[in-house]
């Protein structure tokens, strides 16, 4: 019975993919997004039931070729991620109905609608995959459909570069996954996902391959560089899906593998924890400096992925140290943060999409004062910002608190070295949380408060209702998952001692109300006199007097200047030979893109060098080719004699 929900969702999404390609009209696009919304409702019910009952749902296998079965299964883990997909898709599909109409041509609109449905279908199927073949096939469909969506504005140079970057990274990720799965298949002799009762030394290669493969896709430092390129290039609704859902699908894949291992090793956990902490802190530090709204959000995604990986690393460490309760707390924290991040990051991307749509620019220096022009968007954006900054009583606060709790209780661990590591990573996580709060104060303040800095911000108007409705849907999910977090976790049989956020929320609202009443009713006089204060000789407040984005983040930039690694270069010319009369000069502050310049480019150069050497083998000379055949024959002869 329950499986029927998935079948309906699949049919709806396939129809949603085909429909806009067959009939190019606004109506068919509307119907297409309507179908994705319908599928999300079915998925919500399906995932909710699976999560609540804990039943495992196995679908009949589909055989395309002998030995190539597609099996689908759903357990609690996949149920949780299906819920995440469904929640985000419900909001994004409503938002997209109007948003897609702003694309440049009819063909692009149709393509965007079709590919969005295909993208959602692929992500859903990856999560439901029961074996490696099914997983990889839908993983590739997911990657390619998202690549085409990133490239939707294919004439722009920026998009082409972003698309190429994304293509290389996603192919690299798939290559590592293939290697990982092949080595697993060699070990187990089966392509099905199941428990892996093998010694950890046998699983080291699959672990490293899958960690790298999923890490690239999830945007873990140092494989994160594609995110700040791909997210700004893609349409905002797609950025929301990519950042909100696709990154989580990578985390799902990694968790699926990790949880099936009975005996992991401690260094795995340490590696994941360190990579996670680094991603978290570097992600937020880079985000603080950013002034492109979507790129800033992309860096923030790296930060949050880092936090999730921190939780996974903690889970492994606690599990191996025998502290099951803390292991469960960390894992639940990581999964809950993945869910929450999906909600508020999608909402933020949709909000950013609305702002960009209204102003025509992504540069936050050009915004300001949008609270008066776009009040609804502002409110919704504020909800997401408060959540992501981890302020109580929101969901972001709960999931981060779960990880902090796990850290705090870890003092009982006997290993002193491990203790030091945990203290260091705890302080990194604390720094990350604080910086994230500062980051979203900056983003919200500079974008929505004060006076409009440019004409485009001045002329901005509120976006159409469907877009607001889509965002509102996600905002409601955000609020509900925060306020009812302890109840949701209790419903899933996780007794983790989380404080009741509803109560906390009510207390907070009550306190605020009381303070307001107290302020109103206190004071010496109730009669008001209003007079203009001394304006320091300034007649009017101008936008130029406001804090700029760069100005706001300057103190942080100064503190972390070692990480930003700016390079200052200058040239001078003099009028005389003794260099005493200055004539002219230039000075340049160049921000070194550390990972790009020191890691990606050297690797790219090395690859291009090797390929140019290899391409010399293909010289079009008959003799050379006969020589190759000759060498191949000799090698084969030797091989069959001694090894076969």
């Amino acid at each position: 019975m329950l499986e029927a929900f998935i079948y309906i969702a699949v049919i709806a999404l396939i129809t949603g993919t085909v429909l806009p390609l067959l009939y190019s009209s606004k109506k068919s696009r509307k119907a297409s997004f309507g179908l994705s919304f319908v599928s999300s409702i079915f998925l919500l019910v399906f995932a909710g039931t699976i999560l609540y009952t804990g039943e495992e749902s196995v679908f009949p296998a589909i055989r395309f070729i002998p030995g190539l079965d597609f099996t689908l299964t759903a357990d609690r883990l996949s149920g949780g991620f299906i819920l995440l997909i469904a929640a985000v898709v419900s909001g994004v599909s409503i938002y997209s109905v109007e948003y897609v109409e702003h694309a440049k041509s009819e063909a692009r609109k149709d393509l965007q609608a079709a590919l969005t449905n295909l993208f959602i279908l692929a992500m859903m199927m990856v999560v439901l995959a029961g074996n490696m073949v099914c997983f990889l096939v839908f993983w590739e469909i997911m990657s390619l459909s998202s690549l085409m969506l990133v490239l939707h504005d294919y004439f722009s140079e920026e998009n082409k570069k972003a698309g190429l970057f994304y293509f290389i990274m996603t192919s690299l990720s798939t290559a590592f996954l293939f290697m990982g799965f092949i080595s697993l298949f060699k070990l187990t002799g089966s392509a099905e996902f199941g428990s892996l009762n093998y010694p950890a030394s046998d699983l080291t290669l699959p672990f490293l391959c899958l960690f790298t493969g999923f890490g690239i896709k999830a945007g873990l430092v140092p494989f994160h560089k594609w995110l700040p390129y791909a997210h700004p290039a893609a349409p905002s609704s797609i950025s929301a899906l990519m950042s909100g859902v696709m990154l989580k699908v990578a985390i799902y894949g990694f968790l699926r593998f990790l949880l099936s291992i009975s005996t992991p090793e401690l260094w795995w956990g340490t590696l994941i924890l360190i990579a996670g902490s680094l991603s978290a802190v570097l992600g937020v530090i880079y985000a603080v400096k950013e002034s492109d709204i979507k790129r800033l959000l992309a860096y923030s995604s790296i930060e949050n992925i880092g936090i999730i990986f921190t939780g996974i690393g903690l889970y492994l460490i606690f599990k191996l140290e025998g502290v099951e309760s803390l292991a469960l707390l960390s894992l639940a924290g990581a999964c809950f943060h993945a869910f929450n991040h999906a909600l508020f990051k999608s909402l933020l991307f949709l909000g950013a999409g609305s702002v960009v749509h209204a102003t025509g620019t992504r540069n936050i220096e050009a915004f300001g004062g949008l609270i008066k022009r776009m009040p609804h968007t502002t409110t919704l954006f504020l909800i997401a910002s408060v959540s992501i900054a981890g302020l109580p009583p929101t969901s972001g606060f709960v999931s981060e608190m779960m990880l902090f709790q796990a850290y705090f209780y870890s003092s009982a661990l006997p290993d002193p070295l491990l203790k030091v590591l945990l203290i260091i990573t705890l302080s990194v996580l604390a720094l990350t949380s604080a910086l994230a709060a500062a980051l979203f104060v900056k983003l919200f303040g500079i974008t929505f408060l004060a006076l409009p800095r440019t004409r485009c911000a001045q002329e901005a108007t509120e976006v159409p209702k469907p877009m607001l409705l889509g965002e509102a849907m996600l905002a409601i999910f955000c609020i509900l998952s925060g306020l009812f977090s302890s109840r949701i976790l209790a419903l899933l049989d996780f007794d983790l001692g989380i404080p009741d956020m509803l109560l906390l929320g009510l207390i907070l609202v009550g306190t605020c109300g009381l303070v307001r009443i107290a302020v109103r009713n206190s004071g010496p006089s109730k009669t008001r006199t209003s007079k203009e204060t001394w304006g320091c000789g300034i007649l009017d407040q101008l936008p130029t007097m406001e804090y700029t984005s760069a100005g706001f983040s300057e103190p942080l930039v100064v503190i972390f200047k070692k990480i930003y690694r700016t390079e200052i270069s200058s040239t001078r010319t003099y009028s005389d030979t003794k260099e005493s009369i200055f004539n002219s000069g230039t000075a340049k502050i160049h921000l070194i893109k550390f990972f790009q310049e020191r890691l990606y480019l050297p690797v790219a150069y090395a690859v291009s060098l090797i390929s140019s050497q290899v391409s010399r083998m293909q010289n079009g000379k008959l003799d050379t080719y006969v020589l190759y055949v000759f060498i191949a024959v000799l090698t084969l002869m030797t091989f069959t004699r001694y090894f076969a």
Partner: protein, 232 residues
């Protein structure tokens, strides 16, 4: 007296062994001779050796296909093909192929020694389970070595004619291997000969039409941008 020798299989086997040595010597000549006319003679001699081997083997085994193969080889490879190539040689007025690719004659000879050794080691691994007389095993080894040496000739010599001779040598190797091991059906042998005829015809077209070397042919292709041109 002669008839008593001929009736003795051990004697015939010895003769075949001596012929194997001659075959190897002709192969060595094919690798190192610069004069095209003598190269052609060497090929004719090599083919004649094939004919003789087939006849002696027939005397031992009595398989009539071997006689048919001998006749076919005599007509095609000893008489027709060398004659035809000789005609081409006269037409394009090239009597020598002086330059070598990758391997000079001395190196080629050393490599071919290695090839014989490799063929021996390779086949000894393969045929260890099969019950096979030493002569047949030797035939297989020489056949395989000849094939590989033919291939060596194809990529180490430059002129189209010498390359064609390399190919013909390879075919001789296949024939030898077939006679001793695989028991090739006669129809396949006929098809191979037809192939060779076509090869020689194509060689004529290439050699006369395109100034006799593959390099020049390649250069023409490059000017036509058929290759990407990354080689130069």
């Amino acid at each position: 007296m002669i008839s008593s020798f001929i009736a003795n299989p051990a004697f015939l086997e010895d003769i075949i062994r001596i012929l194997f040595v001659f075959v190897l010597i002709t192969a060595a000549f094919t690798l190192s001779t610069r004069n095209i006319a003598s190269l052609l003679t060497v090929y004719a001699v090599q083919s004649l050796l094939m004919v003789l081997i087939a006849i002696f083997l027939y005397m031992i085994e009595g398989n009539k296909t071997l006689i048919a193969i001998a006749a076919l080889t005599l007509v095609s490879k000893v008489l027709l093909i060398p004659l035809f190539i000789d005609l081409i040689g006269e037409k394009i007025k090239i009597s020598r192929d002086l330059k070598f690719n990758y391997l000079e004659p001395t190196a080629s000879l050393i490599v071919s020694m290695g090839l014989i050794l490799l063929a021996y080691v390779f086949l000894s691994g393969f045929f260890s389970e099969l019950i096979m007389s030493k002569l047949f095993f030797m035939g297989a080894v020489i056949g395989l070595s000849l094939t590989l040496m033919g291939m060596l000739v194809i990529f180490s010599r430059r002129k189209v004619i010498t390359k064609a001779i390399g190919y013909l040598t390879m075919e001789n190797g296949v024939l030898l291997f077939g006679i001793f091991v695989a028991d090739l059906p006669f129809i396949i042998e006929i098809l191979i000969v037809i192939d060779l005829m076509i090869l020689v015809l194509l060689t004529t077209i290439l050699a006369i039409g395109l100034d006799s070397t593959i390099e020049e042919y390649h250069q023409r292709l490059q000017t036509l941008k058929i290759w990407s041109g990354s080689g130069d």
